[in-house]
């Protein structure tokens, strides 16, 4: 092998006693030479190399994600922002402005975990409602079926976006990596079958 250029295809070196037929040689020639691994393999490798100091400095070059990743991540971010915004609005409405400003200043980072918990609870509650909706309709109309499907897609998109973020926060966590991989594989499978996905705008 020299620079990836086959030079011995079809056998014949050193007196092989089974030669490939022309058809077999052609079949070997026609095998695809390239395949694409999952989107996040590059990021995993780069993160590991940054961590051990082999790579230094981060440039924007090459860090662009594919459009569907951006779309899903945006959708997930929208869901989380929507949920946390709603909760924040309710919370703020229940307090006067002075107290709110004071609380925001004091809590800030400490509230991150709380917000995640609140958004998570809202997410699960919404899924329970979706489950009830699905279970309560034996034969849903086309519109209901479409809404259920959209809800499921948005839920999966949010889950995927959350796992992507978790993987960024804890790159060495094998369970998160596995989870990401499973969701990624599912995404590829679904993309191949279903085709274009619907986008839900908030």
């Amino acid at each position: 092998m020299d620079g990836g250029t086959p030079r011995n295809k079809g056998g014949g070196d050193m007196g092989d006693d089974i030669e490939l037929t022309p058809e077999e040689k052609m079949a070997f020639d026609n095998l695809p030479r390239e395949a694409s691994p999952s989107e996040f393999l590059e990021e995993r490798i780069v993160r590991a190399l940054r961590k051990d100091g082999t790579l230094r400095g981060s440039t924007d070059a090459g860090r662009r994600l594919r459009p569907w990743v951006v779309a899903v991540a945006s959708m997930a971010a929208s869901v989380v922002l929507f949920g946390s915004g709603l909760l924040l609005g309710q919370w703020m409405g229940a307090r006067n402005a002075e107290q709110v400003l004071l609380a925001v200043r004091e809590q800030d980072e400490a509230q991150v975990a709380q917000r995640i918990q609140e958004a998570g609870s809202a997410y699960v509650t919404a899924l329970v409602a979706l489950g009830k909706l699905r279970a309560g309709v034996a034969e849903p109309s086309a519109q209901a079926a479409s809404e259920i499907r959209q809800g499921r897609e948005v839920a999966l998109g949010a889950l995927y976006g959350a796992v992507v973020e978790l993987a960024r926060i804890t790159p060495g966590d094998p369970h998160i990596s596995q989870l990401l991989q499973i969701l990624e594989e599912r995404k590829f499978q679904e993309t191949g079958i279903v085709g274009a996905r619907k986008t839900v705008w908030f």
């Binding site: 620079g3 295809k9 050193m14 780069v46 190399l49 082999t54 070059a61």
Partner: protein, 183 residues
């Protein structure tokens, strides 16, 4: 713009940037240039196991990047990279107790090739072969390694390599004929 710039650089220029300054963009350009080939190579060696193939590609690039400074450029970068990938595959096979340098005794066709009326193509036949047969066919008939190169890489003699190839081609024909006859 930086993408275009790095894309125009040779493997060596990119590698030099990685070694001298840990240039991430240069590494990404190298990665994108060679990963599709490396991934297909290990995907074939693993019999189509995408998870295992990704792990192998990851380990291959980590080792390559960390060892770039020691690469003497006496061969093409891709050749060197594929050599690392093959070593990783051997290591994985060793850890999993899989024999890739010899096939002994009878072996059984599993999966869809055994189904009546099933027609399989060459790619599927490669997946169904035992790891030892598959490895030698991929290296020799797909990638174009010589017996000597294979012997050196796998730590076997030329004679063993030749007899392994002989048996592997017989097995491959058996699979393809079964598939074609029952089609």
């Amino acid at each position: 713009m930086p993408d275009t710039m790095t894309d125009e650089l040779s493997d060596r220029e990119l590698a030099d940037r990685v070694v001298s300054s840990g240039d991430e963009a240069a590494f990404r350009a190298l990665y994108r240039r060679h990963t599709p080939t490396a991934y297909r190579f290990v995907l074939r060696l693993t019999g189509g196991d995408a998870v295992e193939a990704e792990d192998l590609v990851q380990e291959t690039w980590l080792r390559a990047a960390r060892g770039l400074a020691r690469f003497r450029w006496t061969s093409a970068f891709r050749t060197w990279l594929m050599g690392i990938a093959l070593n990783q595959f051997r290591e994985l096979a060793r850890r999993n107790g899989r024999r890739i340098t010899a096939v002994e005794g009878e072996w059984e066709v599993l999966g869809d090739a055994a189904e009546p009326g099933c027609r399989i193509d060459l790619e599927r036949a490669l997946e169904l072969l035992p790891p030892g047969f598959r490895t030698i066919l991929v290296l020799h008939d797909v990638e174009g390694f010589t017996h000597r190169e294979i012997g050196e890489r796998l730590g076997i003699s030329d004679g063993t390599c030749k007899s392994q190839l002989h048996e592997a081609r017989k097995a491959m024909r058996g699979l393809l004929n079964v598939g074609l006859e029952t089609a």
